[in-house]
């Protein structure tokens, strides 16, 4: 809710000058990866240290902070979870789009501004939900602040049903049963390399649908250990081709050794639908 009043009217020039006025000597950021619920949570935390309304944050500065954090973590050889690295790749991509002056728009990809707005919107929405959750949990709660009849005298019948069961009980019973019967012991080997497709999936859950041409791969490779790069590129490429064949992905490359762009396939009639 913070800032739905201020976001629209503020002239943008002043906004960015504002940032200079802010104290630079913020308390040092405490980085506790274990304490964050994923990269978006970490970004929200970083944004808060900017001490401004989320509608006015400097996305570029935020990206820079995040990338610095990831770099430092890697320098001290902390193994970051894949989703942190994917977010880093995306932010690096975003950063490059924001820094490079508007190129001749050779394609319909989202502008850096649009991507930044998307990120800011998601951060703001997540923060709004956090606030809502706090307000919810601080309400007068049944059994803590407000009490029901301590000695109920009867249970009202429910729609004349003689048996009680809810959907959750039913599904739970089914899932447990099927799982019990599926005795096969499976141990999934830990993956060394995640494919670009996996990266996209991770990113989609972090940032939302990537509908337009994205050249994530290029940036993603920066965040892989050199030994993994070759295999990652190979498996990512193979996986993407598979997806293209299934009609779920479109790829584009402007020239040899140029970044590989990809986007979700659109409007392929009758194609299998991905979840």
């Amino acid at each position: 809710m913070a800032g739905d009043t201020s976001q629209s009217a503020t002239p943008m020039d002043r906004l960015w000058q504002d940032t200079d006025a802010r104290g630079v000597s913020e308390a040092a950021l405490v980085i506790d990866v274990g304490g964050f619920e994923g990269p978006l949570d970490l970004l929200l935390h970083l944004a808060r240290t900017q001490k401004v309304d989320l509608a006015r944050i400097s996305v570029l500065a935020l990206a820079e902070q995040y990338l610095q954090f990831v770099d430092s973590a890697r320098r001290v050889r902390i193994e970051l979870a894949a989703d942190y690295l994917v977010m880093a790749a995306w932010l690096a991509y975003l950063k490059s789009k924001l820094l490079i002056p508007q190129q001749v728009r050779q394609d319909d990809g989202p502008t850096g501004e649009e991507m930044a707005a998307t990120l800011a919107f998601r951060l703001k929405r997540l923060e709004a939900m956090r606030e809502a959750a706090t307000r919810l949990i601080n309400r007068n709660r049944l059994g803590r602040d407000v009490f029901a009849r301590g000695a109920p005298e009867h249970i009202p019948e429910r729609n004349g049903q003689a048996f009680e069961a809810n959907l959750y009980d039913l599904l739970n019973a089914y899932a447990n049963l099927r799982q019990r019967q599926a005795v096969t012991q499976v141990t999934i080997e830990r993956r060394k390399v995640w494919s670009l497709v996996e990266a996209r999936e991770l990113l989609t859950s972090m940032i939302g649908e990537i509908g337009d041409w994205t050249a994530l791969q290029h940036y993603l490779l920066d965040y892989m250990s050199p030994t993994d790069r070759v295999t990652a590129t190979a498996s990512a490429f193979a996986a993407s081709l598979e997806l293209v064949r299934e009609g779920r992905l479109e790829m584009r490359q402007d020239g040899a050794f140029q970044p590989l762009y990809m986007r979700r396939a659109t409007g392929r009639p009758g194609g299998p639908v991905s979840e």
């Binding site: 304490g35 964050f36 619920e37 509608a55 979870a81 820094l99 049944l142 407000v146 029901a148």
Partner: protein, 235 residues
């Protein structure tokens, strides 16, 4: 709020009260009082004398109990007596444990409440993190969250929503009473898409900005070394 409005609005109904209505009042009182769970209006209607206006009876009772230690409250179309919230500190017992929710579970609950009907994918998109096993489980077991149905979109994902018990637990008459719901909706924060007026100004140069970055200090790095990597798991 809306209860008070309703009470005021009913004032004109004050008029003459028939003996039948008084009897209906007593009966309704007894039925709701006896139960621990909210009692539906149809359940009451079946048991009250024919021809009485159940809603009028109930609202008269709401007013009657408004100032007392026990209040009549409404949860969707159900009625229940609950102790007055201001007496919380007296009634609260040491042994009454309310369910402790993890931060993740609370966040998921809020998202389900405010965005319902909502799919798991949408929840994950909002939180930017996968919902761990057990998080939804806790909410389902508490009886606050339920499967609502399936979205009529490709893949037909299951949608989640809250239950009447959720409303009862958090003292809400209906979903519309969720705190801040209207503002959030107005700000476009309950939609999957960026509202059209949501724009982020973009800096012209990189130099100006480095000043509002907090550099990573040696201290941070030391702390990093202490901490376990690969977090992001909720629960």
């Amino acid at each position: 709020m809306s209860q008070t409005d309703m009470i005021d609005a009913l004032d004109p109904l004050d008029g003459p009260v028939t003996g039948l209505e008084l009897e209906a009042e007593r009966t309704a009182e007894a039925l709701v009082f006896a139960a621990a769970e909210p009692v539906s209006e149809s359940y009451l209607a079946e048991r009250l004398p024919r021809g009485v206006d159940v809603a009028r009876i109930m609202w008269r009772l709401v007013r009657l109990y408004a100032g007392r230690g026990v209040n009549l409250i409404r949860v969707e179309d159900r009625w229940a007596f609950r102790t007055a919230a201001d007496l919380s500190f007296v009634i609260r017992r040491d042994d009454t444990e309310v369910r402790k929710l993890s931060r993740a579970a609370l966040e998921v609950l809020a998202i389900i409440a405010y965005h319902q009907p909502v799919t798991r994918a949408e929840i994950e998109e909002i939180r930017g993190v996968q919902t761990s096993r057990g998080t939804l489980d806790v909410l389902m077991e508490a009886g606050w969250v339920r499967f609502r149905g399936r979205r009529r979109t490709p893949g037909r994902p299951v949608t989640l929503g809250t239950t009447p018990r959720f409303l009862d637990h958090f003292g809400l008459e209906e979903i519309r009473d969720l705190p801040g719901l209207e503002e959030l909706k107005g700000a476009g924060l309950l939609s999957g898409r960026i509202p059209p007026d949501f724009r982020i100004p973009i800096p012209m140069s990189a130099e100006d900005l480095s000043e509002d970055e907090d550099p990573i200090t040696q201290l941070d790095l030391e702390e990093l070394g202490l901490l376990t990597p690969g977090g992001g798991e909720d629960e």
